[in-house]
């Protein structure tokens, strides 16, 4: 069942404003944190086993630990450029509980010693931007931001930066580029952002959910936070369930819950008369799972890895048997082709090539050998580029082809979809 830590008060409209937020226990942990040693907070976050909720799952505390131990100015960036198809948890968090994020960010900034932070919100989230802007105003007025916050002697400024429509800006170095006023193209690593990030200064980029969760690590302590979840995947996480389930939406569950429970119990299972066909477990970039695998896998980092996929951003896309996999891969390939930033050759050309190849299948122009070609291209896009977008495009292609190969072969052979009633491939994009 759901365990609501972060989302406890999300259904209460007053949680959005400062007043209501404070009433429901807001900004208590901020004061508590100010009394702690910043290094202790970092240690606690490490000990709590909080892993980045944006997609890569890198331990947040460890990331903070990479910061050089000097007096250089440093920045905290909140990654609210939620672009992964299937993900909508950050939008809800920003719209329902902007102060939760702001509080989490102030605590995190205090921990890492940052005097300036930015929330990078994707431009399409107009509602979120309005609410966040209002919340920031409130926070400034109430002295939660600015000089000498709550008498602690800690100064901090926070600002919102609005993106303008680029999936790639969700990648941390691309986000930094975008914030610096460059095109949102990922930067070469090394140097890593924790050493040289925004304007060449040490920078930490964290997801909305990761930063909000910091508040609850302070509130419940390491043990309290670790109460939920598994040994290696501690805490709760918001999962955005979409696709062909009865009740799609955001669900906060402890990590380690079987996917079966999530889909069948919490989301009300498949729509009547429909069978589960496949699940993309962590946003469109993660390898797809077949129905059997989905029924066995648990919602944590390790179990996902066992099945060769990732927890990603927690976007569970449930696919029923009315969908043609060729069609869906076409949709995804179109997406990655559209979103490749065009910097690295394998990704720039590879995404375009994959898109054309998959399109040629439903145009009836493909040959059987093209399936091998798709495999070849995908394999040579993996791990060859600056950022992971080319992997993100290659992984679905590889996994779709591996797990649903007969559908692709059928399409090429017969010139039509194996799934009856799936008429869409013909009028694709």
């Amino acid at each position: 069942m759901q365990v609501k830590v972060l989302s406890e008060h999300y259904d209460k409209p007053e949680f959005q404003g400062l007043e209501g937020y404070k009433k429901l226990g807001g900004y208590v942990e901020l004061e508590k944190a100010f009394k702690m040693d910043p290094k202790q907070i970092i240690e606690d976050v490490k000990a709590a086993g909080l892993r980045g909720r944006g997609g890569a799952g890198f331990p947040t505390g460890v990331k903070w630990g990479f910061l050089p131990d000097n007096g250089e100015p440093r920045y905290l960036l909140c990654n609210a450029d939620e672009g992964e198809p299937g993900t909508f948890k950050d939008r809800m968090m920003m719209e329902r509980a902007p102060h939760q994020l702001i509080e989490g960010m102030i605590i995190s900034s205090f921990a890492i010693g940052s005097k300036k932070s930015y929330i990078y919100v994707r431009g399409e989230y107009d509602e979120s931007i309005r609410i966040l802007t209002k919340a920031l105003d409130e926070a400034y007025k109430a002295g939660m931001l600015g000089k000498n916050i709550l008498g602690s002697g800690f100064d901090h400024d926070m600002d919102i930066y609005v993106g303008a429509g680029a999936y790639i800006c969700g990648e941390e170095t691309a986000m930094i580029s975008s914030l610096e006023g460059y095109k949102g193209q990922p930067k070469l690593k090394p140097p890593f952002p924790a050493i040289e990030g925004y304007l060449g200064k040490p920078t930490i980029v964290n997801n909305v959910e990761s930063l909000a969760a910091v508040k609850y690590i302070i509130r419940d302590g390491v043990e309290g936070y670790r109460k939920h979840g598994t040994e290696k995947s501690a805490g709760t996480k918001l999962f955005s369930v979409s696709g062909n389930v009865v009740k799609p939406g955001n669900y906060e569950i402890p990590l380690g819950m079987p996917m079966k429970t999530l889909i069948n119990d919490l989301c009300g299972g498949m729509k009547p008369g429909r069978q589960l066909k496949a699940v993309i477990p962590g946003g469109s970039s993660t390898p797809i799972l077949t129905a059997e695998e989905a029924m066995k896998v648990n919602m944590d980092y390790e179990s996902m890895a066992e099945f060769g996929t990732f927890l990603g951003s927690g976007a569970v896309i449930v696919i029923d048997d009315s969908n043609c996999m060729v069609d869906l891969l076409g949709v995804l390939m179109h997406f990655y082709h559209h979103e490749s930033c065009g910097q690295c050759t394998p990704c720039r050309e590879g995404t375009g090539w994959l898109n054309k190849l998959v399109a040629s299948i439903y145009k009836g122009e493909a040959k059987m050998t093209d399936l091998e070609l798709i495999n070849g291209i995908s394999n040579h896009m993996m791990g060859k580029t600056i950022c992971a977008l080319s992997d993100a495009a290659a992984m679905p292609a590889l996994s779709f082809l591996k797990k649903f190969r007969e559908e692709f072969e059928f399409y090429i052979r017969e010139g039509k979809s194996k799934v009856k009633g799936s008429s869409y491939a013909q009028m694709h994009h």
């Binding site: 509602e127 680029a166 949709v331």
Partner: protein, 157 residues
């Protein structure tokens, strides 16, 4: 020939100061231009911004062309963006888009004859649980059926 209003120029000047580097202000300033120019950024605005912000034209042009939310061509009063990514596709996003295309008689990025509507297919807008959905100008409209979408747009007109 587009020219920023005097408030617009003040806005640009303020944004330049707002961030650590002047370059960061390019996106907000382009948004401002788009807002003042009926939803699209004309090419000559790049030269104007370049002068106001004291940045090379190429930098601004790069930003303008990189991001999809800046319209490089005129659009209708209502910019209808229908999500056609995976979750929406599975719930009829593409059917919705083609229905709207047919209903308003526009294709691709065209503006309808009355100048009211432009319908574009876009990638994920982060509202997958309420698929299919569309964004009209700044607002989301969710859990749509083709008929509902048409009536929403007609109402907004």
């Amino acid at each position: 020939m587009f020219k920023l209003s005097s408030e617009g120029i003040d806005f640009v000047k303020k944004e330049i100061e707002r961030y650590e580097t002047r370059r960061s202000a390019i996106i907000p300033c382009l948004y401002r231009v788009q807002k003042e120019n009926k939803g699209w950024v004309p090419p000559e605005a790049v030269a104007e911004l370049s002068q106001l912000m004291d940045l090379p034209e190429a930098w601004i042009n790069e930003i303008l062309n990189f991001y999809t939310m800046f319209n490089k061509e005129p659009i209708g009063k209502l910019h209808v963006q229908v999500c056609c990514n995976i979750s929406c596709c599975m719930n009829g996003g593409r059917e919705l888009a083609s229905h709207l295309n047919k209903e308003f008689g526009v294709q691709g990025n065209e503006i309808s004859k009355d100048g009211n509507v432009t319908i574009t297919r876009v990638e994920c807008l982060g509202s997958c649980d309420t698929a299919p959905m569309m964004q009209v100008n700044d607002n989301y409209y969710e859990n749509l059926t083709p008929e509902k979408a048409v009536s929403v747009i007609k109402e907004l007109m």
